[in-house]
Subunit: 214 residues, 2 copies
Amino acid sequence: MRIVKDAEERKNEILDAADELFRLKGFDGTSTNDILEKVGIARGGLYHHFKSKEDIMDALIERYKVRLLGAAREIAADRSIPVNERIVRVVMAMNISGGSGREIMKHIHKPQNALMHHKMQKVIISGVTPILAGIIREGIEQGQFSTPFPYECMEVAVAYASSIFDDTVEMTDEERASRIQAFIFNTERLLGAERGSLMCIARAFGGSNGGSHE
Amino acid sequence: MRIVKDAEERKNEILDAADELFRLKGFDGTSTNDILEKVGIARGGLYHHFKSKEDIMDALIERYKVRLLGAAREIAADRSIPVNERIVRVVMAMNISGGSGREIMKHIHKPQNALMHHKMQKVIISGVTPILAGIIREGIEQGQFSTPFPYECMEVAVAYASSIFDDTVEMTDEERASRIQAFIFNTERLLGAERGSLMCIARAFGGSNGGSHE
DNA sequence: TCTCAACAGACCGACTGACTGTCTGTTATA
DNA sequence: TATAACAGACAGTCAGTCGGTCTGTTGAGA
């Protein structure tokens, strides 16, 4: 039987199916037949909407990008929130690490999804860095931070954060906590911020009380 | 015709061929038939020495690892070289960026080689970071650096360096130079080093004289 | 306003070529 | 003669193609 739907709707159905399957079995581990079966369409239908399997992945990444960066921009623009707090919220929204949307990143960090991971990281780094840099510049105006390279500082922080929280390397909670400690310390140094002024970030991450365990 | 060789020799022939082909066409773009043809053996031969195509990649990475980290360790252990200079040489030996062995990295940073890139980065980061951290600790003893997190500092630096010098993102020479500038500045801050004390690193990288272009 | 032909785009499913990994058999070497 | 190195036919899978079919829409004529 043949069910005709609006193109956008079908595309989204395909993306939803691919999303779940890639999450479960990875990109390489998922065949187009798996997607076909899940959506309930035939090969021709899929290749009518997407020109290749990789094209599906790119569309998925684009969807993530719009969602994640949209949320980040919204938060970043809200001047009623203090700078520190805004940074935390942007980072949480990107779920580079823990937080509500951690789900999205989880499956992207599997070795089978290396290409997806790579593309996603590029999108995140190139997208969120200027947003964060903008907030940092506000902080500099307010005398909270001091660096000639706000953009590059954020580049460092984002690159490090996404390498630390890469789920392919397994870590004990203790290791994780001390990484976060070091991350905060290092970021404060980079930004020329007062010691402890970014501690709120550590507190925001996954219920850890900041790395020390007394 | 049938030519029998010592297993190690054959393995290396296969790795050499794979190395060159992956470099040219990427991992996914290279078929096992390509390798077979280049080496001049049949399928059975290849699968006698390696259990899968990915196994070949892993062996290649292992070979890189031994070569790169061996060189790095040798340099790091040479106490006759001053700390600063040793850092430069280790970094050059790893060719995370410019330098003699840049070749090796070049093809690894192609999107088609995402998985290889990912595995390689893991090996580098986990291998070279402790080596560099050791040198930094010497520098701390000598009063040159000051940080409670030498290991994590190097983790940051290595992660950032390998993200900056990722050849998948294209950069003008000017951008590159200013990235290096920022990188040096940030690293000095992280290490609590005197301003300009790491400038020798910038000078060492690819003929750039430190970012300014006169 | 109703009808119907013409069209565009959504969808089908058999087919192709390519590729990885296996298996049985063969040759060389210690 | 036993064992490791190798050959090559083969099976199974998968991504992508292609000619064709179905369906919703549109617009002209009655």
